[in-house]
């Protein structure tokens, strides 16, 4: 059995709060590491302590506001750790940037999600741990093991805990792509499912509701909240169709551009996201924003990986701390 003494946790600069929480949960100090930019914009990293023969876990979501800088920092950290004679390198990527760019929508487009996967392997990563990849097929972009954790059990428990008193519920998928995810939640909650189907009429974008929300609490389940315009439009339509309340539970909160303003002005009552992406500033600007802590799930996953145990069983056992 492997000992915890040969495990090192290293944090990039994208999300130090996540790494701190993980460090506490694992009862392992973060290894010293300094990341910075040279004056000319190049990324530079210095490892402050030995990682020789260690199993190293590098924690870095590749998220906004500087996706490309965060990716580069992850790759440079991996290179440094590999050249420092580590035994095994795992990239812990709570949010996988470029995940939405996973197929050719038009001719002559890149598949940048696949490119990023290639770059991560090229740098020397042995394993990836991520959460709620935009498409499960992204695991197949890699030639190395990818553990895709799911926030769904935590989301279900959040709904059961916080929305129990609100009456009859209906789970909403805001797009046809995400129906599968929404159905998992509606099955667990034993309630109805409805779909908002995006339609483009001329210049105007519109949504058609498939299903019934009259007199019910509408719970939107999504994977990424970016500009939040879709969420705002969804909430508006659901209200007009008779929903009593509208909540949204989304795995990743990118909240780009005018997202906060859009949220504050929307008919959405609450937007629940996880802490896969740092949100300190934005959560202050938006009282509707609630954050689920997923580090206990990552902590459990890391422990099982270290001890060579099954990951699958982890999800079903999980309780919000």
């Amino acid at each position: 059995m492997k000992t915890m003494e040969s495990v090192r946790l290293i944090s990039g600069s994208a999300h130090p709060q996540f790494a701190e929480l993980l460090s506490k949960g694992m009862n392992i100090e973060l290894s010293k590491c300094e990341s910075k930019h040279f004056l000319n914009g190049e990324t530079s990293v210095i490892l402050g302590e030995s990682v020789r023969s260690a199993s190293v876990y590098i924690i870095q979501p590749t998220c906004s506001p500087n996706v490309n800088d965060n990716i580069m920092e992850l790759l440079v950290l991996v290179d440094a750790v590999r050249r420092a004679s580590s035994k095994h390198i795992t990239a812990v990527i709570p949010f996988f940037g470029y995940g939405k760019q996973n197929k050719k929508e038009k001719s002559r487009e890149p598949i940048t999600g696949k490119l990023i996967a290639n770059l991560i392997e090229t740098s020397g990563v042995d394993r990836v741990i991520s959460m709620d990849l935009e498409a499960s097929q992204i695991q197949g972009f890699f030639n190395i093991p990818v553990d895709n954790l799911y926030a769904e059990p935590l989301i279900v428990k959040y709904i059961e805990k916080h929305y129990k008193h609100l009456g009859e519920k209906v789970v909403i998928s805001p797009a046809v792509d995400g129906v599968k995810r929404a159905k998992l939640v509606s099955d667990k909650l034993n309630c109805d499912l409805a779909i908002l189907d995006r339609q483009t009429k001329g210049d105007k974008e519109d949504m058609i509701l498939v299903g019934d929300v009259s007199g019910k609490v509408a719970i939107i389940i999504g994977s990424i909240a970016d500009t939040c315009e879709t969420l705002a439009l969804s909430a508006k339509i659901l209200k007009s169709k008779g929903a009593t309340n509208v909540f949204a539970l989304v795995s990743h909160g990118e909240l780009s551009g005018n997202a906060i303003e859009t949220l504050n002005n929307s008919e959405l009552e609450e937007l629940v996201i996880t802490n896969s992406i740092p949100q300190t500033e934005k959560s202050k600007q938006c009282p509707k924003l609630k954050i689920i802590n997923v580090t206990p799930m990552f902590c459990e996953a890391l422990k099982r990986i270290i001890h060579g145990e099954s990951i699958t069983a982890a999800s079903s056992k999980f309780v919000i701390l």
């Binding site: 914009g41 190049e42 440079v76 050249r83 002559r108 487009e109 890149p110 500009t227």
Partner: protein, 329 residues
Amino acid sequence: MSNNRLVILHGNAHPKLSKEIASCLNTEVGNALVSKFANSETQVIINESVRDVDLYIVQPTCNPSVNDYLMELLVMVDGAKRASAHRITAVVPFFGYARQSKKDKSRAPITCKLVANMMEAAGIDRVITMDLHSSQIQGFFNIPVENVYTEPLFVKYIKKKKKTEFLNQEFVIVSPGVGGVKRAKAISDKLESELAIIHRANKEMSLSLSSSFSFDIEETVLVGDVTGKIAIIIDDIADTCKTLKLASKALIKKGAIKVYALVTHGVFSNNAIDIINDSSITELVITDSIPNEHNKEKCPKLKIISIASVLSETMRRCHHGESVTSISK
């Protein structure tokens, strides 16, 4: 003669250079959209067919957004690869991360090698670059790398200066560090002039000097003679420009009547322009491997040489399968 059509695309780092190269080749830049989504992810759409073409993507990976420009290059290559381009050549006049090419401390990365691996992983077939910081970087790649030299451009420039400004005045080629002596010597040989070296004294030497010496003498040591001559500094990168300022000050102190500097890549990070303006340098000549038009206004000493003709000739020869070496003659 290749049947594959030559197409040039560019990212956002240096569109002006791409247009100049295309002009030299009597063609136009291809149509591609390279932008950013709201969440700062890079987006690329190639708006014309690149099927079976010989594609050249022009993109220095330079400041202020090294990582963004690198990502643009990689994403463009991925898009072109999936659109059935016959061959993809990355034209990278300035290679970012080139100075991070060795482990200078324990537990350091070799980021330049990582970048080379990234470029190959994206699907690049060939690289054309200019005055790599160290030639060994070519060995980081498993694909052909054409390292084009600015030496002929600099030699030509100095010869022209010799006729117009230097006249009968003697000049000496100076390397501002031990690392660049080879480059400086190549130019001094071509011009049949003398060579001098400025290097920083190490700490042991500093400690042995008496306190009566001035700061500059403690910091810099001149090997060679510049008395009564025009000193021409040759270097590959002007970044913070502190070394250039220190070197020019030392050269004037040692009797040089004027100091010129010819540098391939004008990175100019932080307050480099202010440092140049305050320095003893009469003229700083750089190429346009990195866009610097905005700095010309702030610094009258700054002169920019175009590399479009050299790069376009290299591309033409690559396209037609001709020798690249003879460009330098």
